[in-house]
């Protein structure tokens, strides 16, 4: 184990990824104390102000506080700096939750499909069907039916990812079940659940984890696209994606609205991707290369 950790830490991508993510998590946790105000508070007197301005900000409950708008204000009169910092919370949660959900569901389906021939046919056809439904339709239907909140958005982004994860795990399991130790376990009449849990799953973990990082990265980006289409989280829940999507209307006039959240979003997604790359290179290079 010690050598694994050392190998991980030696890898440049892993170091970079972990460092950036740690920074973002810190920012997310400490946002209330980093000179921010309520990210949803709108003050109609401070619409589209430039970065660096200081002024009196009227909060919704009536109090007026002196505040510096480090990154300016948006077209609602909200402080961009506060929104970007608080946005890290939701963006990170969306990324991680989507990855966990997609991996969980996809992993389960993939293992079942790979191990049980009878289930395979049905499950894979079902996954094909799932891929045929336009993701946009699914997103709108979910958001319309369950309201636009973090849980809905996570589900809406995770579901289209499940077929791919299933495919990955299935092909892994198909190979793994031919391994000698699995054959041996079967010969010993070990219960299937135990085989899956103790033999198959640990060997599938590494590529699964790697895939998970890519799912997380793409989830953060997809959330931005959903906001672009007007389907994402409501604007009073700031995320990097929806700050950028809202601010794009005045891209030429006030690029800050898009560039400042991008300054946080791009490194984070980059870090997650690089972390995935590094994990893959270290944990299981041969497997990972074979299945992508």
């Amino acid at each position: 184990m010690a050598t694994l950790q050392r190998r991980l830490w030696d890898h440049g991508s892993v170091r970079f990824g972990v460092a950036v993510l740690a920074f973002m998590v810190l920012v997310a946790l400490l946002s209330p104390w980093l000179g921010t105000v309520d990210p949803a508070a709108m003050d109609a007197n401070h619409i589209n102000k430039a970065a660096g301005l200081a002024g009196e900000f009227a909060l919704p409950d009536g109090q007026v506080v002196g505040h510096t708008f480090w990154l300016g204000t948006d077209n609602f009169g909200r402080d961009i700096y506060s929104r970007v910092l608080y946005g890290s919370r939701v963006s990170l949660v969306v990324g991680i939750a989507t990855a966990v959900l997609a991996l969980g569901l996809g992993g389960l389906c993939g293992m079942l499909a790979g191990y049980f021939r009878s289930v395979d046919m049905l499950l894979m056809r079902f996954m094909d069907g799932l891929m045929a439904i336009p993701a946009v339709l699914l997103a709108i239907a979910l958001v319309a039916a369950m309201g636009a909140n973090v849980a809905t958005v996570v589900i809406a982004i995770a579901i289209p990812e499940v077929p791919r994860v299933t495919r990955l795990v299935r092909s892994l399991v198909l190979t793994l079940r031919e391994e000698p130790y699995v054959e041996a376990a079967r010969a010993l009449a070990t219960p299937t659940a135990v085989i899956l849990w103790r033999h198959i799953l640990p060997n599938a973990m590494a590529p699964l984890l790697v895939q998970g990082t890519f799912v997380a990265a793409s989830a953060v980006l997809t959330e931005a696209i959903l906001s672009f289409l007007g389907l994402g989280l409501p604007p009073d829940v700031p995320t990097w994606g929806n700050i950028m999507a809202e601010g794009r209307v005045q891209f030429s006039q006030q690029p800050g609205n898009v560039l400042f959240p991008a300054l946080f979003l791009v490194p984070t997604v980059l870090a997650i991707n690089l972390l995935g790359d590094g994990l893959r290179d270290v944990l299981d290079p041969k497997f990972a290369k074979r299945v992508g």
Binding site: A44, I47, N75, F76, V143, G147, L229, L231, S252, Q253
Partner: protein, 530 residues
């Protein structure tokens, strides 16, 4: 092997680019082609079937009307040459101008007029009111038609010259025979432009050609009335959904006019080279907050009045529009600057008074039932209003349950009469053009017929009575008095709250001249490019 294939593809492409100039592209001079970006996708082409503004604007291109509103708000004859009213006011005789022809070459006859008006009246509220007065329409000859009225009616010209949806456009009788509840399949009118149906790509582009046979009136154009001089051979309506792309396309000269640039771009537009800002609709628009009168807590008039006291117009228009010279608070339910605007609005000041609202809420016995407020996430024009309202209402002691949904879900939910907790609603927001709410007979919000009325279902027979009186009153002081009385009732019953007035200027290339100030309709006649 792969390399060979690639090479072939690339070489082929280069050759095709260098060699080919296939296809008959239009070789019209640049100043004879006009490209316009409408504010919404042109999907429906039937201006009677829908009230959508973009369809109305399309219809103004290819159809003509009997009367039109000029820049001063007066109704002038358009297709009509002359008209007379009998002494008892019960017969109106109209003569059509000579030489009016449809795009298929057939002349415009009184039969076509009668059929078109019938179809229009089957869908339009004001048309319905007009036809309520009409005993019958007869067509003594091809150029003449007559209204035989049951009683004298003051709104005949106002109705026939109605500028905004639904407009009584004149179509061939065979097309107008389509029931008002079905969409027409052909788009043939007698207007200054001809619709090129074969080049129409929904969601992408709509093409119009100049109608060389159009007989324009001799007067100078004024508003929607007068002559309609066309200076372009070809007009293309280019559908661009993304506001940033609209701006970029205008800047690059790929389009000549953007109907409704977003407010955030206003300052930039004024400073961009080659682009200028103008306004075809100085009267503008009004935001409105509507209550659901059927269910708690807004079934209690005092609670509604408390909400009206809690709202402050300045915050709404500043947040949603944000540009000081485009907005103005306006307490009246009629657009400020219009004929019927009225300063007497009893307790409603348009300035937030949270303290007074709280008192009234207590008096009303408000028990904390949350208000289900609907917010459209995908409609940029009004999406910020509910957020401001939430803040202001909560400051006054209301509990607000903000439901965010896309427009399609909102309009579906808006039609439901169930209680808010079972799929209904308490409050929504919308915007109207000045034309739509300028008269009690055209304003949908004054439909107080209860269960069959407009969303919100206010049941106030007194308003309906006053509207009927308005239709019979003489223009001028008599109508104004009735309009004021209606306004007082609106505030007394807290039917809805006006949230402020604003203009939405349009953006043009600097070389485009001659834009007319109309009743909120972007028209392509009168314009020219140099």
């Amino acid at each position: 092997m792969r390399r060979g294939f690639l090479k072939t593809v690339v070489v082929g492409w280069v050759l095709a680019m260098l060699g080919a100039t296939a296809g008959a592209q239009n070789t019209l001079p640049a100043n004879k082609v006009f490209r316009f970006v409408p504010h919404a996708n042109l999907a429906v082409l039937d201006p009677i079937w829908t009230t959508a503004y973009v369809t109305r604007n399309h219809a103004y291109m290819i159809y003509d009307t009997l009367f039109s509103e000029d820049a001063k708000g007066n109704i002038q004859p358009q297709m009509v040459q002359s008209f007379t009213t009998a002494k008892d006011g019960k017969t109106w005789t109209f003569k059509l101008r000579a030489g009016l022809e449809f795009h298929d070459g057939k002349p415009v006859t009184s039969e076509d007029v009668a059929a078109s008006l019938k179809r229009w009246a089957s869908r339009d509220a004001m048309g319905g009111i007009l036809f309520g007065f009409i005993e019958k329409i007869d067509t003594p000859d091809a150029n003449t038609f007559r209204f035989i009225m049951k009683e004298p009616c003051a709104i005949v010209l106002d109705a026939l010259g109605k500028a905004s949806s639904n407009v009584p456009f004149i179509m061939p009788a065979r097309i107008a025979a389509t029931p008002g509840t079905e969409q027409i399949k052909e788009h043939i009118g007698s207007g200054p432009f001809i619709f090129k149906a074969d080049e129409f790509k929904p969601g992408s582009v709509a093409v119009y050609l100049r109608n060389p046979k159009y007989v324009s009136r001799k007067e100078a154009p004024s508003g929607l009335a007068g002559g309609r001089p066309v200076n372009f051979e070809r007009v293309e309506w280019v559908i661009i959904r993304d506001p940033q792309t609209q701006f970029n396309a205008l800047q690059a000269g790929e389009v000549d006019m953007v109907e409704q640039p977003s407010f955030e771009q206003y300052e930039s537009l004024k400073k961009t080279a080659g682009v200028k800002v103008d306004d075809f609709s100085p009267a503008g628009y009004q935001f409105v907050m509507r209550f659901n009168h059927l269910h708690a807590p807004f079934n209690n008039v005092k609670v509604r009045q408390a909400a009206m006291l809690a709202v402050g117009q300045q915050a709404f228009i500043n947040t949603q529009v944000g540009i000081p010279d485009l907005v103005r608070p306006c307490k009246s339910i009629y657009p400020c600057g219009s004929l019927l605007a009225d300063e007497s609005t009893s307790y409603f000041t348009g300035v937030a008074n949270a303290a007074k609202a709280r008192e009234l809420l207590k008096e009303a016995g408000y028990d904390g039932t949350p208000i289900v407020m609907m917010r459209p996430t995908d409609l940029a024009a009004i999406t910020k209003l509910p957020l401001v309202a939430k803040q202001q209402l909560e400051a006054a002691g209301f509990k607000v349950d903000l439901q965010q949904m896309d427009w399609a879900s909102l309009v579906a939910r808006r039609a439901k009469k169930e209680p808010p907790t079972q799929g209904g609603w308490n409050m929504f927001f919308t915007t109207w053009t000045a034309q739509d709410i300028g008269s009690p007979l055209t304003s949908a919000m004054l439909n107080a017929k209860g269960a069959t009325g407009w969303f919100g279902w206010q049941d106030e027979p007194r308003i309906e009575d006053l509207k009927a009186k308005f239709a019979r009153a003489h223009e001028g002081p008599e109508q104004k008095k009735i309009a004021s009385a209606i306004q007082s009732l609106v505030f007394e019953t807290a039917a809805f709250a006006p949230l402020g007035q604003y203009r939405n200027p349009t953006a043009l290339r600097s070389n485009v001249n001659g834009m007319l100030q109309t009743a909120g309709v972007p028209v392509m006649w009168g314009l020219s490019k140099n």
